[in-house]
Homo-oligomer: 324 residues x 2
């Protein structure tokens, strides 16, 4: 590298704005010192994005920074936690300053948008990868776990499903869009997912379980079923599908994207039917809708129905694009 | 990968022993939920080790796991923090199960030794790299910062300096040892540094500043000088050098290793002279000695003395071995 690790961090990642009151000591010492509000638990999560595994070499530094933060905030959202702090471990093949400037500008734009502060960093030389740890707070009783749902609970999701999967297919030149408007919309859903932070907080004390959709509904919902020791029936006709997805695919393809492709970063959650009205009220202050897509049932299986009748589906797996 | 991310994490990184009481929810949900003790600040740090940058392809998985934890605990030690939790982001080219078993066994052996719990993890496919974030606690007033030292303060270090630098030279076949005993000792100092956790806690309320030595005394001490806006005089004849280092090098070479090679992970700290006796008492319960190696002075320069007279030194830089 032409400039040292220390000067890299100093030049691009020391920014004094967005100095939160709960940061006693920020970047620039051996550790940061942070104050968790009394009576709250700290929620933490860590995710790595590796070039050629989670993002394409053509991904812009702006999109990469935004997505790396968003996928971590999505995990906090799935716990009902309020985001507060981030640490960043950035591995770069070369100290390309124009890349770093674009990456760091987008990083802080996203962090400022969510009022979160970068409190730790490490830059290293090596193949391009971004590891972020996000930290936030939740009252102990309000945390949304994967366990806790019971037969009879409704299964719901935020937003629309499948857009990011088609956005990836477009980026890989496996799908050609009918309109450039669809192309931009769908690629943005893959490159800049929206973490459902306000929605996660709205679910506190209402949802009986929650998870975020990183690997696709079919796979991620199984984690809830396993943790809660229940089964589920998903009504395929209820899946929320965007206009863009439906315009670009036939219905069967759209269902495949909605169930088996990842990177949507919507929340999937369950709730007792008597909480539905409260949830509708709580969601009035969020930017996303929610849609009921099925019910928790007994047993341990995930089944699909269409117009009330069980149907068989063969889903292709999704383990990010290096395996597609 | 032949087995999925989820099964990898489950098989090698879910271990229920060392369940700390301050972990409300461990690995296996979207986030972990942690309880910071009331009245304490949380100290956090993050460090990445990348193959061919921070460790050699020949490094054993056992040594890699141990070192990845140790370099992070060393940062906590430099703040005087008590370690509590770790998150691990592991990027692997292939899901080599014998490698994973060896890595995870050593990882938990080290974590158990320091009574710290793994609370978050992500395994991804890509070039080998390990990112660990370590978290711990410190009373607000006791934290050891880089700022705060004043002219007249003593400069001290724990342990011996330079061993790890020679250990790396041996691993790179740039030095052939006189005895296999020296070779093992010096390589172990590079591969398995000892984080000075108890020593950092002993320094609470006594040291006026502290840092850990990852890049070499000459460079790391500059961070204290810059943060505290002071200068320093280091007495070369006082540098603590191991028997092994002195047996394998001439004195000039040993001084170069002690000042300009990294990876020792000893603590460098300053204290007012009137605290010296208290410090000697506090160090009776630790495994490491400490040695006074100089004094803080006015100005902003780092100078070297030998038998009380200023000497000029030309030091080669150290930015981990990809730059040597």
């Amino acid at each position: 590298m032409s400039i040292t690790e220390f000067s890299l961090i100093e030049k691009y990642f020391y920014r004094l704005k967005a100095q939160r009151k709960d940061v006693a000591l920020g970047i620039g010492d051996d550790c940061a010192l942070l104050k968790v509000p009394e009576g709250q638990l700290m929620a933490i999560t860590v995710d790595t994005l590796v070039e050629n595994t989670h993002f394409l070499p053509s991904t812009s530094p702006e999109d990469l920074a935004w997505k790396a933060i968003s996928v971590n905030l999505s995990d906090l959202a799935a716990m009902g936690a309020e985001p507060a702090w981030l640490s960043l471990a950035l591995t770069l093949p070369t100290a390309d300053e124009s890349w770093l400037e674009a990456f760091s500008n987008s990083f802080f734009e996203c962090a400022d948008y969510y009022d979160i502060q970068l409190v730790g960093g490490d830059t290293t030389s090596g193949p391009l990868a971004v590891t972020i740890q996000a930290m936030g707070f939740t009252p102990p009783a309000a945390a949304l776990k994967r366990s806790g749902t019971k037969p009879g609970d409704l299964i719901c999701v935020t937003g629309n499903l499948g857009d990011a999967g088609l956005g990836l297919a477009i980026s890989l030149n496996k799908h050609t869009c009918l309109t450039s408007k669809h192309e931009e919309t769908l690629k943005a859903r893959f490159n800049r997912p929206t973490p459902r932070v306000a929605e996660g907080i709205a679910l506190r004390n209402l949802a009986s379980s929650a998870i975020d959709l990183s690997d696709g509904l079919a796979g991620d919902l199984m984690h809830i079923l396993e943790a809660s020791e229940v089964g589920a029936a998903i009504e395929l006709d209820s899946l929320p599908l965007s206009e863009a997805l439906l315009a670009e695919c036939d219905h069967q393809q759209a269902i495949q994207y909605a169930l088996a492709s990842g990177d949507d970063y919507e929340l999937c959650f369950t709730l007792a039917e008597e909480n539905l009205e409260k949830l509708e009220n709580a969601f009035k202050s969020t930017s996303s809708k929610f849609t009921q897509i099925g019910r928790i049932v007994g047993g341990t299986e995930l089944i699909y129905t269409s117009k009330g009748k069980q149907v068989e589906l063969i889903l292709s797996g999704y383990e990010h694009f290096h395996e597609l």
